[in-house]
């Protein structure tokens, strides 16, 4: 068992220690009125620079990253985050630019913004993009606002409902609610695809739109997508594409061609920007021609050889202080220019090949609820032989012992023991074979020594956690410990 580094930065504090080097100006001291100033300083740690460096190096080693090992987390597209992206996105000429500089002093950044919009348009088949949304869920919110603004402009204000399949990501219904819509959930087919009859039953002149992920959260392409988009459009609704699973389609199909009016794209999934332990991400929102005027402010335009910040005519408004997470879309830009048109088409192919290879190699021992070819990911519904009571959670935890990250578990909700596996295109056959072998080992252990699996993990720095205790006796800050 590995040694647990269990020190908090506050525990290292020694009065008087500092970790910065700064030359004071020695100007006159300003005294603010006493009723406007804080009475006691914040109890921040007092530590040296080396204390901080060693502490956070130790803390980092308690984490599993994409570079540590295979990270088959379904729906999250944990692909390699290229080093050149990090290097080039953080050079001084980008990092040191104030967002309120005059346009002519930030033409390079505006050009990157513009060209990234253009490339995303070409790849997804939508007319125009804004890079302003900060994350996937933020892009969803932007897209729903656009749907609402569109219907409001058409004086069609009875359209208050958004249809969401029950296989959708949780953010879909939550975003619709935040945007002031009522959510109509429809039951999916057994493979998570849209049940066309269920869809027809809820279509009416109160429907503002349908939110859809394609391929869906079970890794299945919506084969009826053209009929679905026709039905929604005939009913006067708009089609929203949740781009979480776009990776599968690279080189093969465009959401715009399928009839989607609005998309968001997760740059931190398909376009290789790092997840950062939960953010910052970036969720550009794209629209078809008739919705361009509703994009969030500001938009970047090109006139002749120069780039400009402008306000869209019927914009939904501002979604953030400035122009989105620039440090993230700079990385996506570098990625796109590294792959180029001749390589990007292989991304979808190899991601799908990898997923099918794992699926076919393990379906004899894991329960495969959806037969046939999958896209970039697929779902197992637990072990085929569940007689010893070993569940998906146990398998996930046991994988950690073997140095693999667990798949996404218990999502999608349409299966009880979901284990959603997404290898991405960057993993070699060798890596996949290693994973397959360990999955078979764990399945064997589940029969021969179920307790070993049910009590996993055994080798991680901490083992299974008491989550109930964390809720019942909340300790949410250092002072709560003392």
């Amino acid at each position: 068992m590995k040694k647990l580094y269990d020190t908090l930065i506050f525990d290292l504090s020694k009065e008087g220690r500092i970790g910065y080097q700064y030359k004071e100006k020695h100007l006159d001291e300003v005294n603010l009125p006493t009723d406007l100033i804080r009475s006691t300083p914040a109890s921040l740690p007092e530590v040296s620079e080396f204390d901080v460096v060693r502490h956070y190096t130790n803390v980092s080693q308690k984490n599993f990253g994409v570079e540590t090992g295979f990270y088959p987390l379904g729906s999250c597209t944990m692909k390699y985050n290229p080093k050149i992206n990090d290097e080039l996105a953080t050079i001084k000429g980008f990092a040191n630019i104030h967002p309120l500089q005059p346009e002519h002093t930030m033409q390079g950044l505006l050009q990157i913004y513009y060209e990234t919009q253009e490339m995303l348009s070409k790849i997804s088949g939508l007319k125009a993009y804004s890079l302003n949304p900060f994350a996937g869920a933020h892009g969803e919110l932007a897209g729903l606002m656009i749907i609402k603004a569109y219907h409001q402009k058409n004086k069609d204000e009875k359209r208050t409902k958004i249809i969401v399949p029950d296989s959708a990501h949780g953010t879909n219904p939550a975003s619709a609610t935040v945007c002031g819509f009522d959510v109509v959930e429809i039951k999916s087919n057994i493979d998570g695809t849209v049940n066309v009859d269920a869809l027809k039953a809820v279509l009416s002149d109160e429907i503002a739109g349908l939110m859809l992920t394609n391929p869906n959260t079970a890794g299945v392409f919506e084969k009826d997508i053209l009929e679905i988009s026709k039905l929604v459009h005939e009913a006067g609704g708009l089609l929203y594409y949740d781009g979480a699973n776009l990776n599968a389609l690279l080189g093969h199909a465009k959401p715009g061609d399928m009839g989607f009016d609005i998309t968001h794209i997760n740059l931190h999934k398909t376009f290789s920007t790092p997840h950062g332990g939960g953010g910052p991400g970036s969720g550009p929102v794209g629209v078809c021609e008739k919705l361009v005027e509703f994009l969030p402010n500001p938009i970047v335009t090109k006139k002749g050889d120069t780039y400009h910040l402008e306000l869209a005519k019927d914009s939904i408004g501002n979604l953030g202080m400035f122009y989105g997470n620039a440090s993230v879309y700079l990385r996506a830009y570098v990625y796109l220019r590294t792959l180029g048109k001749e390589n990007i088409k292989d991304v979808g192919s190899l991601a799908v090949l990898n997923a099918n290879y794992i699926k076919e190699s393990l379906k004899d021992i894991f329960d495969l609820p959806i037969e046939g070819n999958c896209m970039h990911e697929f779902v197992f519904d637990g072990l085929k032989d569940s007689s010893t009571g070993v569940k998906t959670l146990d398998i996930a935890k046991r994988l950690l012992d073997y140095g693999y990250h667990a798949p996404t578990i218990y999502f999608p909700l349409i299966f009880h023991q979901s284990m959603m596996i997404e290898p991405t295109e960057v993993e070699s056959k060798d890596t996949l074979d290693g994973f397959i072998e360990i999955m078979r080992t764990v399945a064997k252990e589940a029969i021969e020594n179920p307790e070993l699996v049910k009590t996993a993990p055994h080798t991680t720095i901490v083992r299974r956690l008491d989550e109930v205790k964390a809720v019942k006796q909340p300790i949410l800050k250092y002072k709560d410990i003392q």
Binding site: Y22, F64, Q111, G170, S175, T177, L319, K341
Partner: protein, 437 residues
Amino acid sequence: MHKYLPHTNQEIKEMLDKIGASSIDDLFDKIPKSLKIKKDYDIPEAMGDDELTNHMHDLANKNQELLIFRGAGSYDHYTPSAVKALISRQEFLTSYTPYQPEVAQGTLQYIFEYQSMVTELTQMDVSNASMYDGSTATAEAMFMAHAQTGKKEILVSSTLNPRIIDVIKTYAHYKGLTVTLIPEKDGITDVNFIKANIQDKMGVIVSNPNYYGIIEDYNGLADIIHEAGGLFVINQEGQSLALLKTPGELDADIACGDLQSLGIPLSFGGAYIGYLATKQKYVRKMPGRICGITTDVDGKRAFVLTLQAREQHIRRAKANSNICSNQSLNALAVTIYLSLVGKEGFVKFAKESLNGAHYLYNKLLETKKFEKVYDKPFFKEFVLKANFNVEKFNSYLLDQGILGPLQIKDDQLLFAVTEKRTKAELDLLIEKVVNFK
């Protein structure tokens, strides 16, 4: 072959054999023929590494790095170099949200440390794991006030940064909430307007310092708002928390704002980081992730995401917010920054900003080229009225590599001075002003 795509032709063949498909295209059999892409995307061809490096440097050179005296929500601060080095570690940079806590104790621990520091800074009971930026954090604070009180109208001070007001208005409009602006009086929030209009409102949002850099006096405001059953929200940027009376001391219910000034580069306006902190009694209305402490089966201390019953992946359409991430890596940057500058440096830098801003303010007035607009206490930003052509002035400064103040209306200019500006730089600006014709 491509450096990010490791498959050899032989391996592809073996994999297809295992699957029982004759080609990769066969795997895409569910995509209708009419939807299949027939030619390459209309995007540029791949660039070699050196070519791309040169290209990016060329683009970077089309941006001008300037000596900055402008703020308005984005501040040019000193950041110790250890911050960037540490957040670049792949274990932090490339990991996902800590859904498997046994192998994500690193992320969870620094979120816990971050929350601890934010509660120290604000003197609030509890902080979440961070929000997108200061503006969306403020909009989410409005949603919290709505969820808590059930009321639909909020009072927002006109002295907030107009960009934040815009975001609040966008969020409110689509959610069906009403934003009523509190007029400003001589650069500060008109408290009499609040007194007269607070009934039946979900609460009040003010900022400190306000858009003009003025430190407003919010003593006693909490009582007025609480008596009417509303929530008191203070938007405050990071560095000012070192000096000003804290949201906790002012009995605010929610503290929010941007922490960019604590270790995050200017970076064209993003990615930044919003914070959100509240009183214990409102924690279940708080959006976003929260990290807590528990024990594992062996009794060891461990960190874990907690109180998740609030969040979208559980509550779906009933959630108060749709956020499903945080600005985690930037929360780490802030945590490392605050550790390095520490208890003493945090206050020292705020004072250096304060002193520098006042030095510049007084010297500019001495040139007789400016007049006072407000005569109120201020922190690191201030407004002066110019006795000359403002556009000409700023382009004159730009020609000399200086980003001058932001023109906020007619002849009024908003200056910002941070601890990063040396006395020589301040004197340089003053000299330029003196020489400006």
